[in-house]
């Protein structure tokens, strides 16, 4: 039986960039014990001789003609922005300020 501790879930939530309350972490950790048990069944038949399928269509390098087509105007592209400035997306600081 695989299980994930509260701290394991907290680490995953950090990787997924989701803040979580202690209550949520504990609840998810309990649920995952059951869910992981169920999904781990895939290992029963996934032998080394079976190829993996990542996608239903065997596609590679799909191109379309390299022609200029109309694209979004700056106003349209920024229309949903939570904040904007000088025709750009205004975002919180990414690097610490010196």
């Amino acid at each position: 039986m695989t299980s994930l501790s509260r701290d394991d879930v907290a680490k995953l939530a950090g990787l997924a960039r989701i803040e979580m309350s202690d209550e949520e972490l504990v609840a998810l950790s309990n649920e995952f014990t059951v869910i992981l048990d169920a999904v781990a069944r895939v290992q029963e038949v996934a032998g080394a001789d079976v190829a993996a399928t990542s996608h239903p269509l065997p596609l590679r390098n799909v191109f379309r003609p390299d022609v200029v087509i109309p694209s979004l105007s700056p106003a349209d592209a920024l229309s949903g922005a939570p904040a904007q400035e000088e025709q750009r997306f205004r975002v919180p600081q990414i690097l610490g300020e010196e």
Binding site: L12, F32, V42
Partner: protein
């Protein structure tokens, strides 16, 4: 007028018996009358729909040649972008977002002069089987308002059963078109993967997602299928081949000499008695119509659910990374000095619901170093095995069939706290998405024990979608002559319904 099929509405429009404005208004009136109880819609575009209807009426008056469904109203699942119209995907994280572009499905609907009435409710980001995961509250099944309408496309299916729209668009990642169709007594089709463009379909699991038609009969679904399908250079996974002749197949409904394969593993234990009875009866009707019924086995289907609940969460954990509070949608905690990372963390905490978080975390785990091979890698191998099972089965049969769902509609709240029980709903629909083939659900009657609709599923090989329409039309015709009237004519009347 609103109880007609879409094709009946289309011929009345063509003959001038009714106008699109009157037809559209009648549906808007029905929405006003019943949607407070059904809650199929998240947004109704009254002005836009009426303006477009007036434009179509004017085109028709001027003698312009119009497409078969011109002037007929439709409900659009809120996962497809429509320029300037709120698109939430049932999530708080997109509340108030108005996309700056049309999805290709919407572009095709507009080209065909189909009137978009509004956006329908859904499980958040299409993750769910009951529409209870919508951040905007559940949709109620018009057959019994205390029950779920299926999911994720519960709003689209419910709008058809409540006569709020004769046509709807759904999307199907693990059964989100077919399962709602089954539990609401309507028709839903998941086309072959790549048959309908995914451009502007907000991605949940890109290798499984497929948009398709929802309707009240097989011919209507086929007409809508042809209107939205076809190659799209904006979607690199769109198939560059002619659209299968689904309308011709739905019109002929000929199954003489066709081999119909019953999938042994998708029946029996775990399937409600009334569901099995209706399934057996449908098989007899198809045999009487000239089809040959054979049994096929797909031994790896029992692993499909487990594989799906690794592949879909893995892809979703990657796809939903785009909701980062930077370019559109919700932004929380953007105070002076707050870092981008803390804004992302806080926004995603508030913006995503419980099931979405559960799947993102599960996917993050399944893709993480050290666990990738055991989980995501193994699931991809199961996908190969399922596809091989289908290939073998299609050597023995032209189409495969099963009940669409193990049970009829359950009560709202009944499975809300048991994710695994909820996931089991999709046991018969998921293999189709894993292999990228076509699948249809159509009503096969009601279960004797609860009087609720039961769905019959037809599966067809890649780009042979016409076959499921032939079989669907044949079964529909046989059932209609048995019943004397369509199943939906027996649905209990909603309070205030026109």
């Amino acid at each position: 007028m609103i109880r007609n099929s879409a094709s009946e509405m289309a011929s009345k429009l063509a003959s001038g018996e009714i106008t699109s404005v009157a037809l559209t208004q009648a549906h808007l009136d029905q929405i006003s009358a019943v949607d407070k109880d059904v809650h199929a819609f998240l947004y109704v575009d009254t002005e836009g729909a009426l303006a477009l209807a007036a434009a179509v009426d004017a085109k028709r008056k001027s003698g312009e040649k119009l497409s078969p469904l011109a002037g007929v109203p439709l409900a659009l699942k809120d996962v497809m972008t429509q320029k300037g119209i709120p698109t939430t995907c049932g999530s708080k994280i997109l509340e108030g977002w108005r996309p700056p572009y049309d999805s290709t499905v919407v572009t095709n609907l507009k080209k065909n002069d189909i009137i978009i009435l509004g956006k329908t409710n859904m499980d958040e980001f299409a993750m769910g089987s009951s529409t209870e995961n919508s951040a905007y509250g559940p949709t109620h099944n018009p057959w019994d308002l205390t029950r779920i309408p299926g999911g994720s496309g519960g709003g689209s299916a419910a709008s058809l059963a409540a006569f709020e729209a004769p046509l709807a668009i759904g999307t199907d990642t693990g059964g989100s078109i077919r399962q709602p169709a089954a539990v609401t007594g309507t028709v839903g089709v998941k086309p072959t993967y790549g048959g309908v463009s995914r451009y502007g379909l907000v991605a949940f699991s890109s290798s499984l997602d497929q948009a398709g038609p929802c309707a009240r009969n097989v011919l209507d679904a086929a007409l809508l299928h042809e209107a939205i399908a076809g190659h799209d250079p904006k979607d690199s996974t769109s198939i560059n081949a002619p659209v299968p002749a689904v309308v011709a197949a739905a019109k002929s409904g000929n199954v003489k000499g066709m081999k119909i394969g019953v999938v042994k593993e998708l029946n029996g234990d775990g399937y409600q008695k009334g569901v099995r009875t209706r399934f057996e009866e449908s098989l007899e009707l198809l045999a009487a119509a000239g089809a040959e019924i054979v049994e096929v086995s797909a031994p790896n289907f029992e692993y499909a659910l487990a594989a799906y609940y690794l592949i879909a969460p893995s892809e979703c954990s990657s796809n939903l990374a785009r909701f980062d509070a930077m370019r559109y949608g919700l932004r929380v905690g953007d105070n002076d000095g707050a870092s981008a990372e803390s804004v992302m963390n806080l926004t995603r905490e508030v913006g995503f619901g419980r099931e979405v978080k559960r799947r993102i975390i599960l996917g993050t785990y399944a893709l993480s170093s050290g666990y990738y091979d055991a989980y995501y890698g193994s699931a991809q191998k199961v996908r190969t095995l399922i596809t091989q099972d289908f290939n073998k089965a299609f050597e023995k049969a032209d189409v495969l069939v099963s009940p669409t769902c193990p049970t009829t509609a359950f009560k709202i709240g009944e499975k809300a706290n048991d994710p695994l029980a909820m996931y089991l709903n999709d046991i018969a629909t998921i293999p189709v998405n894993m292999a990228g083939i076509g699948g249809m659900s159509l009503p096969s009657g009601v279960a004797e024990e609860d009087g609720l609709p039961v769905g019959f599923q037809i599966m067809s090989p890649v780009m042979k979608d016409d076959r499921m329409y032939s079989v669907g039309a044949a079964l529909e015709a046989a059932l209609l002559s048995k019943w004397g009237a369509p199943l939906l004519s027996t649905i209990p009347a909603l309070a205030g319904s026109k």
